[in-house]
């Protein structure tokens, strides 16, 4: 199962027939297993990484560090949920260290992101403080180098 997941994580567009050849198991069996993994939410979602800048679309990303007061019985989870329900929030992590939550936000303009932070995020009850860091350039995302200059430089035929 691990091998199948690794192959899909690398490229989810591979068909069960291709995967069958790679894993040496029948395609039907693999298709069934994928359906099972999807149903169990082990495969959460298939995701495409887009270089929006190259596509000519303006996207502004920011990383907001947030300090919050944990609440009785629910700890950090209730506030986290109030935050991650916003569609502007792309990623949300609870961290150890100097602050509690790391929120990654996306919007079309800097103003839009700033507006979201000041009116929605900072005003949630339990939020003590926020610090915003705007992203200037993305080098690597989800394990993928955005503009990779490495390429195949081998000769066509070698012994």
């Amino acid at each position: 199962m691990k091998k199948l997941l690794e192959l899909l994580e690398k490229d989810y567009t591979q068909t069960p027939e291709t995967l069958s050849k790679l894993l040496g198991r029948p395609a039907e069996e693999i298709a069934a297993q994928i359906r099972q993994l999807e149903a169990e939410k082990i495969i959460v979602k298939y995701h495409t990484i887009v270089n929006w800048e190259k596509a000519g679309e303006d996207v502004v990303s920011a990383i907001i560090t947030v300090r919050i007061t944990p609440q009785r019985e629910v700890g950090f989870d209730a506030i986290a949920e109030r935050i991650y329900r916003f569609p502007e929030v792309r990623n949300l992590f609870l961290l150890s260290g100097a602050f509690d939550l790391l929120v990654m936000v996306e919007g079309r303009t800097m103003k839009e992101v700033a507006h979201f932070v000041s009116t929605k995020l900072a005003t949630i009850e339990g939020v003590i403080s926020t610090t915003s860091h705007f992203v200037l350039k993305k080098y690597k995302e989800e394990g993928v180098i955005i503009e990779d200059r490495e390429k195949d430089r081998r000769l066509v035929v070698t012994p």
Binding site: L7, T18, K21, L22, L23, G24, R154, T158, P159
Partner: protein, 394 residues
């Protein structure tokens, strides 16, 4: 008398590389998918490259000792001991760092052979085995292996070629171009043959890390074989470091001493940058190697199944990153098949006879290419077999 007449007869006697001509055609064409490349498609893992850059920052730009950095030799010896049943070498007297296995092979031949000494060379094999033998004044004696016997050389085949002048047995397993391995039991029989006939074994184990079913057995690790064997290995295939040109030889102090003498007078030492990179590869490279091996293994299965589905008779490779299907049923020679396939479908692969006469009737496909490229290549070969080929043979 022309300039050409003045070239050494030995050099003239070496046939031009079969791959060379083919490469010239392929290099001119666009949109070629190449299965003709005898090196990994991975770039050297970043931690290894980074470590070399760090070394340059610190000013490591000088010669090293002739035998190579002692620290590197110690790591090589440690790795061999861990990988092969406690096989132990003295890093000070029994290890030599070379400019790739290619140099190591040349040194071994020159250190050992006297004019007329015969070298048993199981074929198909890497292209330089014959040439290195000739350049050292030896006589290469090809030993043909067959697909029916999984391209494994047998004692019987070797005995048929044995003469009073036979001095060396040259083994190259896992094998380029067939992907064959020599399993432990077969290797034990061959080691006994070598001992019985007092032969020196030169073992090129550059593909040893790329063994997919079972464990690679190092011939030097078999009983009483260590001193009789010159073990050659390196980093090109295991760590995707072909362009660094770094390898090593291990053997008894006399052989290694003699090889070091030639090395010191012709090469001086392997480049220090590559030695630093190799050190990092040995100290922290195991997980990178495992990842690449897993990837090759997936592709191996993919190609084996794919070529069989196309209808080519194929031996299942167990090592290296080559697959060696037979094209005898097409009625074409290896070179014709390769040239026509290249012309019709722009897939480059290497005619089997480049690796010895018994490679005729086969083609070498390297699966050191991305799955997407392999998929496309298989589709093109399939189309060639179904449409291009019938037109040709008609």
């Amino acid at each position: 008398m022309t300039w050409a007449d003045r070239i050494s007869p030995t050099v003239k006697s070496i046939p031009p590389s079969g791959i060379r001509r083919f490469f010239d055609i392929a290099a001119e064409m666009e949109d070629v998918i190449s299965l003709g490349v005898g090196e990994p498609d991975f770039i050297t893992p970043w931690h290894i490259r980074e470590s070399c850059i760090h070394g340059l920052h610190l000013g490591y730009t000088s010669y090293t000792s002739n035998a190579g950095l002692l620290e590197l030799r110690e790591e090589i010896v440690r790795k061999i001991r861990t990988d092969f049943d406690g096989l132990t070498y003295n890093p000070r007297t029994e290890a030599l760092v070379t400019v790739g296995v290619s140099e190591a092979l040349d040194l071994a031949m020159r250190a050992i052979l006297s004019p007329g000494d015969e070298v048993l060379i199981p074929e198909p094999c890497y292209v330089s085995y014959q040439a290195c033998t000739l350049l050292a004044g030896g006589v290469p004696v090809p030993v043909a292996t067959t697909m029916e016997n999984n391209f494994q050389v047998t004692v019987k085949q070797l005995e048929e070629k044995l003469t009073s002048r036979t001095k060396v047995l040259l083994l190259g397993y896992p094998n380029n171009p067939t992907g064959a391995i020599l399993p432990r039991q077969e290797l034990i029989a061959i080691a006994d043959f070598a001992k019985r006939n007092d032969l020196i074994v030169i073992s090129d184990e550059i593909y040893s890390s790329l063994t997919y079913e079972g464990q690679h057995t190092c011939v030097a690790s078999l009983p009483d074989m260590k001193d009789r064997t010159i073990l050659l290995n390196g980093f090109s295939k295991s760590h995707a470091m072909t362009g660094w040109r770094i390898g090593y030889a291990l053997g008894n102090p006399d052989f290694i001493g003699a090889m070091t003498k030639i090395h010191q007078l012709t090469m001086l030492c392997a480049p220090i940058t590559a030695q630093l990179a190799a050190l990092e590869a040995l100290q922290n490279g195991d997980s990178s190697v495992q990842k690449m091996v897993a990837e090759y293994d997936t592709r191996r299965r993919f190609m084996f199944k794919g070529l069989r589905e196309i209808g080519l008779t194929c031996f299942e490779p167990k090592g290296a990153f080559y697959i060696f299907p037979s094209i005898k049923e097409t009625g074409l020679t290896s070179l014709q098949f390769a040239e026509e396939l290249l012309k019709a479908e722009r897939v480059a692969l290497v005619p089997g006879d480049a690796f010895g006469a018994c490679g005729e009737g086969f083609i070498r496909c390297s699966y050191a290419a991305s799955l997407a490229k392999l998929t496309e290549a298989l589709e093109r070969i399939d189309r060639f077999m179904k449409t291009g080929l019938p037109r040709l043979v008609k």
